[in-house]
Amino acid sequence: MFQFKLVLLGDSSVGKSSIVHRFVKDSFDDFRESTIGAAFLSQTIKIRDTSSDSTEDTVIKFEIWDTAGQERYKSLAPMYYRNANAALVVYDITQQDSLSKAQNWVNELKNKVGDEDLIICLLGNKLDLCDSSDNGDKRAVMTDEAKVYAEEQDLLFYEVSAKTGQGVKDVFQSIGEKLYQIKKEEMLSKKGRQAASAKDSVNVKLQRPSTNDPTSCCY
């Protein structure tokens, strides 16, 4: 079993908690209490390694930090994304504003974590409100706009709905597969190196870098 740490970031009310609950409990409430500080949840998924001969699934456990979205909670964020393997940066498709907030988060992650191995996924939520067949299309952020940005920044990108569940599982599945891939490569290269130098005491590269931000109040 592998364990990965995943953090959700994004403006208040974009649906971070709803996404996590859809993933962890496969349920949705129209009204869920707003998050104070942060909540911690975990959930496992199975992935199949097509490249190996083994027919057995690999179990991946996600340790998920669901954070509070209001601006002033931002100062606590470094504690959450410290050592994270993946970050889901969520915005609300019906709120243009929330995309720019998401972009701020992406910048912060890139500046403060600065790890190429950190998987960042941009996630547009509330897709169910964007049914164009219905007259009530509330979309405010065009798919292309976000997509182009995600490609520029080298992010994963999905549009999902926590309400209907559309796309939510896939997001975690593909992040899981990616992380597994990285992990496998890490282990292979570690083995290789260990063979080279019999006693390789500590392999610093394998560690997830911590945030080196002396101004963060917590760590």
Binding site: Q3, E33, I36, G37, A38, L76, V204, Q207, N212, T215
Partner: protein, 655 residues
Amino acid sequence: MSVDILRTTEGIEQHKPLMNEGIGVAAEQTESTKVARNSGPRKSPSAPNFHEKTYAGHSMSEPTLLRNCNGDNLLNLGDNLSFNDRDANLSVINLYDDEVISRQMDDFEDNNDEDSQQNVDSDEGNTPTMSMLQNNCNGSETEHLDRYGFKKQNNFITVEEYNKWWKDYSQYCIRRKHKWKLLLAKSGLPMDNDSPNRFPSRSEKLKRYVRKGIPAEWRGNAWWYFARGQEKLTKNKGLYDKLLQKMDDLLKKKKKKKPMQDLDIIERDLNRTFPDNIHFQRETFQLDEPPMIKSLRRVLVAFSLYNPKIGYCQSMNFLAGLLLLFMDEEKAFWMLVIITSRYLPGVHNVNLEGVNVDQGVLMLCVKEYLPEIWPFIAPLHKRSPINLGNSKYNFGKNEFLYRLPPITLCTASWFMSCFVGVLPIETTLRVWDCLFYEESHFLFKASLAILKLSEQTLLKNRPQRVLRHYSLSNGNYHSKDLRINQDESEMEVFQVIQSFPKHLINPNDIFDKVIFKKRVALNRLDQDEIDRCRKYVTTQRQRYKNYNEIVGSNLHHDDDEINDSNAQKNDLLSNGPQDYGSINNENNEEQISGAASDMKVNSNNRIGNDLVNNALSSEVYGFKKSLSGVHWNNSIKEKVRQMRKKRGKDDDVLL
């Protein structure tokens, strides 16, 4: 049955009740009055009427109240009230299910002298009256709700568990209320139609009464009284109205201009406040939002206008929401002002520094009062020492005040929302009773009590962590393993602390098992201690911050040192075990300040040097000790106790 009995409160005639909805919000007024008319006479939602009946007023022989139903249907709301007026009944709460009991209680409880100390630790539940209980029951749509309109069931507690607990607890409440009545009578205070608004003067006895719970239907008045709300309101007469007027103007403008940030966030939180409570729910068929949501909006917006330094902070919706269940809007507003300024100063400020300070205080208190819990939450390794030239600087033993342990991410929300949503509702209310009577130190006491109660669960889940904590100083570990294991065990501890409080359905657990126990010594912790502690942590954090700023700017001059991103890690490795896990090590103060003077001094960091010295030579906070003056080290105490336990001589087993 009349549902129009309203509590009268001095001087706020205008706002009482919200019976006519919408104070000052002209746009909404017409609409909502229409709704109010349509749905018949609706009781004030903002002040559920807990005292529709005074149980003392019923005679024991009243037959309808004595229907026995095997006790499985005990908790109906509004059972005894007219059933053809459901809508109104929702906020009319039958607090005790059985109103007859109190009469029977008289004989028994009168002999039970509250003042005798021995009563303090005794189990309130084991009274002969328990067997005399009769319960009334009948089917009701509101069966799944508790007396405040919250769903009984949640992810942590089943309806069965709730009912089982409530069966006893409701009787406890009846007994307590009876005692309160006697106390008021003895103090010559009027009961005012079961809505007293004056209470006895402060005393140890009253404190004990409060700790055992204020009667639910008196809570609004009692909180208001103990928190000296009227004083505040009298000083600021008319201000709430003005704020609402201002809000009205703002909302009118809103359509044209970009709305205020706070207003927006408040709006998003309105429907995310107590979605499990009937008073806050919007029924699908209801076009208009519930009056409670409107009150909540007004209180929060008024507050954000009143105090722009705080504005709106998520968590205040829960504070205001709970207040609104017990008092009218204007009072709720002033109580919110009092909570955020007097009890939780700075906690909701834009930079949240107040909450960080309080977490530092809590950590100090854990270390002092719960040394057996500290290893679970203490940072296992300190951050790598800061590398300056050839010298390395470690933050002293107080580093955790600045770099707070991860668990504080959880405990921070305990303070921000005063346990609303953290503890089950009855337990939360009990903490609030004490908060308003005893002031903010009680929040720390409650936190410590919760942590203490979680000890068994923590041990069950991961005893290794504690072991590791102690073995670290012996130095057998690999840095990487340590790091990963540490993260992992932090998560586990976090998970326990996050969910544990949600199971504390019985408010008495916190008191009987911890706070009333002399052994845990929490009673030494008083308001004065917390005030001093807060000051201390505030200065410490400021020093560290200054220090970091100076050192941070120094590092930028020392390019070759820091630009190697591995420098810190290498440092971490080469420094070896002796740098870790020495949290309880009291001897490194001189070493550190000695090291500080070795510092490679740049021409421009004279002040910096002072600040560094200042930060590093930080004195340790001295807790008040017990009278004897003997400085018992708590961890020694703990050891002695465990030795005694082993010998089986300790009969006073915790928990």
